[in-house]
């Protein structure tokens, strides 16, 4: 009865409302729906765009592995993950996770888990392109990301 997650890697933007509807339309067993959207930030005003590189094939495979781990751990009625690649401007969407369940704790925890593992395990890399035109740097990993992912092995 475990649901088959939807996993997509695409250059185009996604439509959160359409993805939400896909997990709720015509159903009466969804009590809780959580969406997480990750966006490109630029508080300093120096970023022209992020360039998202990925490992085609492995990106889909790894996201599917993480998503299936989530559907195995929590009683979900639906789970979708969409990750964009290519150039993404500040304010634009990068990643979407949607989880649906009868109960809110499962929906929250599964979405949270998915983002933690996506950050540390999905083969995507961000490079900054600056407004100044100067050669941007590859974004470094955040120390907190590994710690966030480690939270789930003790529970």
């Amino acid at each position: 009865m475990q649901v088959q997650p939807l996993v997509r890697i695409q250059a185009a933007d996604f439509d959160v409302a359409a993805e939400t509807l896909r997990l709720t339309a015509g159903r009466k067993d969804v009590g809780a729906l959580v969406t997480f959207t990750g966006l490109c930030r630029d508080e300093a005003g120096t970023l022209d765009a992020l360039e998202l590189e990925h490992y085609p094939g492995m990106a889909e495979a790894e996201l599917t592995r993480i998503a299936e781990e989530a559907t195995g751990r929590w009683p979900l009625t639906g789970l979708s993950v969409i990750h964009r690649f290519g150039k993404i401007a500040p304010g634009e969407n990068i990643v979407l996770v949607v989880t649906a369940s009868a109960h809110r704790r499962a929906a929250f925890e599964a979405a949270d888990f998915l983002m933690d593992f996506l950050k540390t395990r999905a083969p995507f890399w961000k490079k900054e392109h600056l407004v100044s035109g100067a050669g941007g740097a590859w974004v470094d990993t955040r120390a907190g990301d590994e710690k966030d992912a480690a939270r789930w092995s003790s529970s």
């Binding site: 990750g38 492995m58 990750h83 990643v95 950050k119 395990r121 083969p123 890399w125 490079k127 990993t141």
Partner: protein, 83 residues
């Protein structure tokens, strides 16, 4: 064996992908890295910070001490920064 590089590892090596002959003594991922470092300055530079390099064998994350076995594709890349 098919080797793929991503992000700054790719930039340092200078190619996205290459096919190399693996010498007989190369058994593990770590052995392969040692061999690649001998190829030229670009490879040496790419693998200089060896601890910062992540590895996938046939699109599965592995550690440096993993046997290459029958893997057809090895990929090297920095820690992931997606999401």
């Amino acid at each position: 064996m098919n080797i793929r590089y991503f992000a700054w590892v790719r930039e340092r090596v200078g190619v996205e992908e290459e096919t190399i002959e693996v010498p007989g003594g190369v058994k593990t991922v770590a052995d392969l890295i040692s061999h690649l470092k001998t190829l030229d300055d670009n490879h040496a530079a790419a693998f200089e910070e060896e601890d910062a390099i992540r590895v996938a064998l046939d699109q599965l994350h592995v550690e440096a001490d993993t046997d290459l076995g029958d893997a057809r594709e090895v990929a090297f890349f920095p820690p992931m920064t997606g999401g």
